[in-house]
């Protein structure tokens, strides 16, 4: 992180979108995450996507749980209301917020500990209900804020920074989202902005439960050989491993690759993340096929990214429970209270 305040004045030539905002109007406070953290790349992608989508920033409500990822909503959309809720329970708070006012855009930001460990239940149920939202999981396979414990998405056999092997079967959030009935499911990599920004844009425009599982390397605690969600930091920065609190400034990780290829993304620290683009003929409208495809490739050690599934006829919770079109929080007393005459009839029926 930096301690230098961002200049508040914007350059007059900055491009404005159709609602009159520059890209910088979508920024938030300066990140307090580690330099080079994948999560900051995701924040940048969210900023880019919202700007490109011409969304008025204050029309977005951003909610998160607890953890490094859940701190990030403070670092984008600074004029939006945000809510740092409790660990693993952001989905229920987001559901309630959405029920209160269906006219806003809801963005849930969570991590793998928040969504796959403590919050697995709420993650599953918010998708079942079809809450209209964009749910981004910033997935690094590790607990950062408590310094390096495995999360439930860590691969079996992968090693912690202290050398312990993870014995538990990993939870694949994209596969789970497919089972639980999410109607827009994407997976991406924090370093691949070209892929991520369009995925976020699609999710925000989707009228139902949209999930994006974003693999987002933790350079502080999951950045060693033997980890499947990290870059081989040890080889290049041996000292850093022994000095846990020191993190050298790094550049963001970016990748570019074409359609239908398996790509080994070689990072500046020499580690490799294997990514596979979807086949050109891949049908993201087939939920069952998508499940098989994701699992087949996972068995080969490959991470399938892109838009995995979308239901073009998605319907959301409000439609399912048949609420009125206007925001519930704007209903007047006259619309809510049946009045004393009706109450007298109710009294009469109870005699």
């Amino acid at each position: 992180m930096t301690y230098l305040a961002k200049p508040r004045l914007h350059h007059p030539t900055l491009a404005k979108n159709r609602v009159g905002y520059t890209r910088r109007d979508y920024e938030g406070k300066i990140s307090t995450l580690c330099a080079g953290c994948g999560h900051d790349s995701i924040s940048a992608a969210i900023i880019q996507a919202c700007w490109e989508l011409d969304i008025e920033p204050h029309r977005v409500a951003k909610l998160s749980g607890i953890g490094c990822s859940s701190k990030t909503p403070d670092y984008f959309l600074g004029n939006s209301h945000g809510f740092n809720t409790v660990h693993g329970r952001m989905p229920s708070v987001l559901t309630g917020a959405n029920l209160a006012n269906r006219e806003l855009i809801y963005l849930g930001v969570s991590g793998d500990g928040d969504s796959a460990s403590i919050g697995l239940g709420q993650f599953a149920h918010v998708l079942r209900r079809g809450v209209n939202m964009t749910y981004i999981v910033e997935n690094n396979g590790v607990y950062g804020l408590t310094k390096g414990q495995f999360s439930a998405t860590a691969d079996k056999g992968s090693k912690s920074k202290r050398g312990l092997a993870n014995n538990d079967t990993p939870i694949d959030l994209a596969s789970l989202a497919l089972v639980m009935g999410a109607t827009y499911i994407g997976r991406s990599f924090s370093g691949d902005k070209a892929q991520l920004v369009p995925l976020i844009r699609g999710a925000m425009a989707h009228p139902g439960a949209a999930v994006i599982d974003v693999v987002s390397p933790c350079i502080a605690f999951n950045n060693h050989s033997g980890s499947t969600k990290s870059y081989d930091y040890v080889r290049e920065h041996n000292e850093a491993v022994n000095r846990l609190d020191f993190f050298p400034q790094r550049e963001e990780i970016t990748t570019e690759y074409g359609e239908g290829e398996v790509i080994d993304v070689r990072q500046h620290d020499g580690s490799i993340l294997r990514l596979r683009k979807l086949h050109a003929e891949y049908d993201p409208g087939d939920r069952v096929r998508a499940m098989a495809y994701v699992q087949e490739h996972a068995a080969r050690g490959e991470v399938v990214t892109g838009l995995l599934y979308v239901d073009n006829e998605a319907c959301d919770l409000h439609q399912q429970i048949n609420t009125v079109d206007q925001a519930l929080n704007a209903l007047s007393a006259a619309e809510l209270c049946p009045g004393s005459a009706v109450l007298e009839k109710i009294n009469a029926s109870l005699r």
Binding site: A61, V86, S92, G96, Q122, T323, V324, N329
Partner: protein
């Protein structure tokens, strides 16, 4: 042999098997008596079971309008072989045992000091009906018919009730009336008269007969609840179910038929309170209904709502505790769990309804208080009030009253340049202004956190910011004292040095006990506490008596603890009297406990001008 003789003042208990259709038959007896202008107070004592386990229904017929549980049974309708011995034991000397005599009863399993009334219900049913389900169901109606004859219950009232129940189902109506008549005819021809009678009176007035959960749900409808999120748990589930039932009619948009509220059955209590908090944060009035175990699960979120200052209403229909608790038994055992719910330094507003009328009133009021104070508010009902139909004042609503939506800063105010600090105490009452998400493009947005913040909602781990915020929350809690319902004083006829404090469902039994004690020359001032935080009136009340008995339906004397902690009362002046076996407290218990203690305390001569 002695024979209990009573007109409009007795207790009948029905011992049945769960799932046998007895509940509606027994309720019929209660309602028919009510229609004769005589108050009744029924109580369901039921197991955590759907079919097969014992269940009881107790009807207190009470011309004087005492709606608490009296204690003791004058007539037992023993329809369950499993509980026979226990049921027979419970009958008062000179009382009556009504049973199905289709199979002979060994003398050893009866008593000599009670009147035994046998009626071959199974035999009569088998002779009249061939369908097994009908044989079962109509057995209940048969005994209703017999009781109508024995107790002089006007059969035309029962027929009218059938008429309402089976409107449009004439076949069912006819067969029920037939069963009723078979029972009446048999009783008239074969059974000896008994000493318990119902006589027509006009003592019910305009009172309504309703359970507290239905009342609380209706209070939420009238109080403007927009979102209800809940998870099924006995004894609170019927709050949400009644809310759904009422809103389907009362909140349907007349043009589109769409709902002006949202109800979600969550996956657990963590999610239900999370949804309520999300909705409250976003400017909707929201509530959940739960019971003790649900409160335990919600505790982390309750703390967040307290610190993040988010309105939320929790209707806690208390049941036996601790742990998963006695799900079908009543207690007042969540007082401390709710008053201090969550980690960190938290205090929450509690309301204590005494009956369905107050369940309605306080649920609606809780929605106002939650938004005014921007904090969770608990309506502390219990199973006794929540799941039993109780006679109470008719619900009332003032159409000119407006909802108190609290301090919400609007777009216009922000445009006018108002200084918006989410946690800034601008009025000195500890209550800050809030904005709803989406209010203004460039002003009024903020990031909501628990405690790590300054008055302008900026991230701050600075100690002074934390302390300042906590001190403001204390001021806010002080403000709450002026907003929550005041305690209700029932003054003794003569100056009294002893007093009682009670709350919630203890109320009807307490008022009856106070009358009984006064008849014996024991006079006590009584204060019914209706809310936490405690107003100064409560401390003053305690200070003006030498001993104050605090009656509670929990083991630990939780309200007593809270009074000592929070009301500044002298601990030595409080004497806690507890009743916590899961059955509702009775007037007999209270009378006995007070009379005993007062006798003990009065060993020393009293001052001339004072009576105990």
């Amino acid at each position: 042999m002695q024979k209990i003789e009573a007109v409009n003042d007795f207790v009948i208990k029905f011992a049945n098997i769960n799932g046998s259709g007895s509940a509606s038959a027994n309720e019929l007896v209660a309602r028919a008596i009510l229609r004769m202008g005589v108050p009744v107070s029924p109580r369901n004592i039921f197991p955590s079971n759907i079919q097969g386990l014992p269940t009881w229904f107790e009807v207190r017929v009470t011309e004087r309008g005492y709606l608490g549980r009296r204690g003791g049974v004058d007539m037992m309708v023993a329809m369950n072989a499993q509980t026979w011995d226990q049921d027979v034991r419970e009958i008062e000397t000179g009382g009556y045992l009504f049973y199905d005599s289709s199979r002979p009863l060994p003398r050893s399993r009866s008593r000599d000091d009670i009147h035994v009334i046998g009626m071959p219900l199974t035999e009569l049913c088998n002779n009249t009906y061939s369908d097994p389900r009908q044989r079962q169901l109509f057995k209940n109606i048969l005994y209703v018919g017999a009781l109508a004859h024995l107790l002089d219950i006007d059969a035309s009232e029962i027929e009218k009730l059938f008429g309402q129940q089976f409107k449009g189902k004439e076949k069912l109506l006819d067969s029920n009336i037939q069963a009723l008549n078979v029972g009446r005819d048999y009783a008239r021809e074969n059974l000896k008269p008994i000493g318990l009678k119902v006589e027509r009176r006009d003592k019910v007035g305009d009172h309504i007969f309703v359970d507290g959960n239905t009342a609380a749900a209706l209070g939420c409808v009238y109080g403007g609840a927009m979102v209800c999120a809940w998870y099924p748990i006995t004894p609170s589930s019927s709050v949400a179910e009644a809310f759904i039932r009422y809103t389907q009619k009362l909140r349907a948009d007349p043009e589109t038929g769409k709902q002006r509220c949202a109800v979600v059955q969550a996956e657990d209590e963590l999610a239900s309170i999370g949804m309520v908090i999300g909705a409250g944060w976003n400017g909707a009035r929201a509530f959940t209904a739960t019971s003790g175990p649900g409160i335990s699960l919600m505790s982390e979120f309750i703390g967040l709502a307290f610190f993040a200052e988010i309105p939320a209403v929790l209707i806690n229909v208390q049941r036996g505790g601790p742990s998963t608790g006695m799900p079908t038994r009543t207690q007042q055992s969540d007082i401390l769990a709710c008053a201090y719910a969550s980690h960190g330094d938290t205090r929450h507003v509690l309301l204590f309804p005494e009956d369905p009328y107050e369940c309605f009133e306080m649920s609606a009021q809780a929605l106002d208080l939650a938004e005014r104070l921007q904090t969770p508010v608990f309506v502390m009902s219990d199973l006794d009030i929540g799941m039993n139909q109780r006679l109470c004042r008719p619900f009332a609503w003032d159409d000119s009253a407006e909802y108190d939506r609290g301090k919400v800063m609007t777009r216009d105010a922000l445009d006018a340049g108002a200084d918006f600090g989410r946690y800034l105490d601008v009025d000195g009452d500890g209550i800050p202004y809030r904005t709803y998400p989406g209010t203004h493009p460039t002003r009024g947005g903020y990031f909501t956190r628990g405690t790590t913040k300054n008055a302008y909602a900026g991230y701050s781990e600075a100690g002074p910011d934390y302390v300042e915020n906590m001190q403001r929350l204390l001021r806010k809690f002080e403000t709450a004292k002026s907003l929550v319902p005041l305690p209700v004083l029932t003054a003794a006829r003569y100056p009294a040095r002893f007093a009682v404090i009670f709350y919630g469902s203890t109320s009807p039994a307490m008022h009856e006990a106070l009358d009984a004690l006064a008849e014996d020359g024991i006079y006590l001032n009584a204060l019914r506490v209706r809310a936490f935080p405690f107003q100064n009136e409560i401390a003053d009340f305690v200070a003006s008596h030498s001993k104050v008995f605090v009656f509670e339906q929990n083991m630990d004397g939780q309200l007593t603890t809270l009074l000592i902690n929070e009301a500044g009362v002298e601990p030595h002046s409080l004497v806690t009297v507890v009743h916590y076996d899961g059955t509702p407290i009775t007037a007999r218990f209270i009378t006995h406990e007070i009379a005993d203690r007062v006798a003990h305390l009065n060993v020393h001569p009293l001052k001339e001008d004072r009576v105990a």
